[in-house]
Subunit: 371 residues, 2 copies
Amino acid sequence: MKQSSFSIKYQPVHPGTENTTIIFHPETPDLCAIFTPGRTSGERRFFVTDGTVARLPCIQQFTALFDDGRCGRDYLLVIGSGEPYKTIESVLTIVKAALKEGFARKDIFVGIGGGVISDITGFAASIFKRGTSVEFVPTTLLSMVDASIGGKTGCDFDNYKNMIGSFFPARTIHIFPRFVESLSSSQYNSGLAEAFKTALLYDRDLYTIFLEKSESILSRDPAVINEIIPRCAHAKAKIVENDFMENNIRMYLNFGHTFGHALETVVGLGNITHGSAVAWGIGRALSLSARKNFCSQSYCDEVLKMMLLYGWDTEGMPHCVTGGDVGGRIIKAMHKDKKNSNSKICLILQKGLNDTFILEMDDDDILPVLK
Amino acid sequence: MKQSSFSIKYQPVHPGTENTTIIFHPETPDLCAIFTPGRTSGERRFFVTDGTVARLPCIQQFTALFDDGRCGRDYLLVIGSGEPYKTIESVLTIVKAALKEGFARKDIFVGIGGGVISDITGFAASIFKRGTSVEFVPTTLLSMVDASIGGKTGCDFDNYKNMIGSFFPARTIHIFPRFVESLSSSQYNSGLAEAFKTALLYDRDLYTIFLEKSESILSRDPAVINEIIPRCAHAKAKIVENDFMENNIRMYLNFGHTFGHALETVVGLGNITHGSAVAWGIGRALSLSARKNFCSQSYCDEVLKMMLLYGWDTEGMPHCVTGGDVGGRIIKAMHKDKKNSNSKICLILQKGLNDTFILEMDDDDILPVLK
């Protein structure tokens, strides 16, 4: 035997599905009509939701059909609500219940809820028997405009955001914009931050809507909601289609997130909404862009002024953090970001509206905008 | 807003890598030469091995370079040996240490060991920051001929084999056939069972080698080892290239495994080698094939007779199981197999040498070969 080698080439297949269909439903959410739980033919469904969503009036009719989790061949698992439940333990609780109920890899998982539910249900689906299909019904604005779309799944780990997960897109996403009527103001505001990010990154018309229609937006006027959600979904879909594995342009979607995730870590996961943290991060990224003369001061000022209309924190020293050395603690958490590949911090910055780029920076460049 | 929908199509990308290079090294295994731990440029490596492998003389030179796990920018994690460590806890131990040591998604995981190490290291790599590259150095015959090749990763869960995992192929696999010199007889025999499976499924010449050269095989004659390993690696690679996601022909590789995994579950994971269980399962699948007249009795008898030469259990009632209702307990465990999609059991059967098919069967058809 001499030293020798050969290569295996894999088919250009995908982990689970090659296609996501997004369906917009203008009517009042009615999950019974979409899923007909207990149906006797077709795939078995393993539904996952959380306690808060399960209690929504428009969902109760659906959940009431399940007795001890079961409705015919279908199953409903209700887990705890919110970021503290975005854990590997929740993911394994889903897997264990699906195993106990005898689900097969040809069956389907359905996540009904916000970003936490879609992230952990998608992650569970991606590892259950090495991958079963998944569908989502996003119930928060944040999930409708961002989290449920694009195949990123995962959970927090070791007090850091989304440190484990997979790329595993949903087969179908059912979007009911009228779910926004059921959101608390902080939940609604959190989703707005991601929609605002989309405007800054890709959609000049959406930026104008945010600039001119703050009252309609804040009062949840259905006309403006029905404009914002599909715009964001289409923008996200376009990016994901062109860079599914986040090798280049998809990284722009992390605009504000390197700062924002670090803030979430410093405050404690779940103690601030994701959107509030991201909004603060957008302000920091733009302040840094202006400070380094990448963008004009006037663009930065216009955006920060708009952000105040929506109640977002535009200060270098975030209001929600207590204790000393805030900047140092935030920088330290920023070093754990998945985008970093060396001792520098990888940031998404802007030269102007819809003009974005990526730059690796040293701590000393970043610290001045955290004061 | 009217009901409307649109689709996202994903690029034909792959979860991690589109290509695996398999390198055969005829020399005595020397990991220092291949990896030069502590090198100052290139990717950082997160090495994973187990206590048994770490103590092999040819590996000690490598492990001695690490101090408290570290050698320059590289890291070595040593976990417990064997099937009892093929758990989600081991997977998360890897992730947690890599996070603590500041590894990035552009760095690489390297699994050095048998099938358990490659399965859990590959799984950890697939979920760490949503996927980092992985390489393997298989040290067991089983891993060289089967486990390390083809991208299946995972761990046991809830006392069932490989219930969670992913499809995530290694970038490079370094095969040193001379590692077989370090194996216990039961480890060696376990690997032979998978090689024997390859002969039955795909390779008539390899079947002849097993038939005519049992003494050379059992004495680990390097000439015959150097023939068997590349034959199996090429056969497996060919199947995986044509059916990566196990939609059809890759399922044949589960020949003997539905019975074998069930036996492992009934005996208790780790209490029987995987190969012994699979060998017993191959005997059961062929006995069932002959009983149902799918294959000739003479083919079945020839194979069972050969199997006795290699010390494999060819009885319907496996020697290693104690207690009553053995058949019923095995059938119950068989129902948990990932291939099943309904109340029947999906089995891989044969019409003859290198002539394989899949059939769903009822319990009553299977029970007679478990007596």
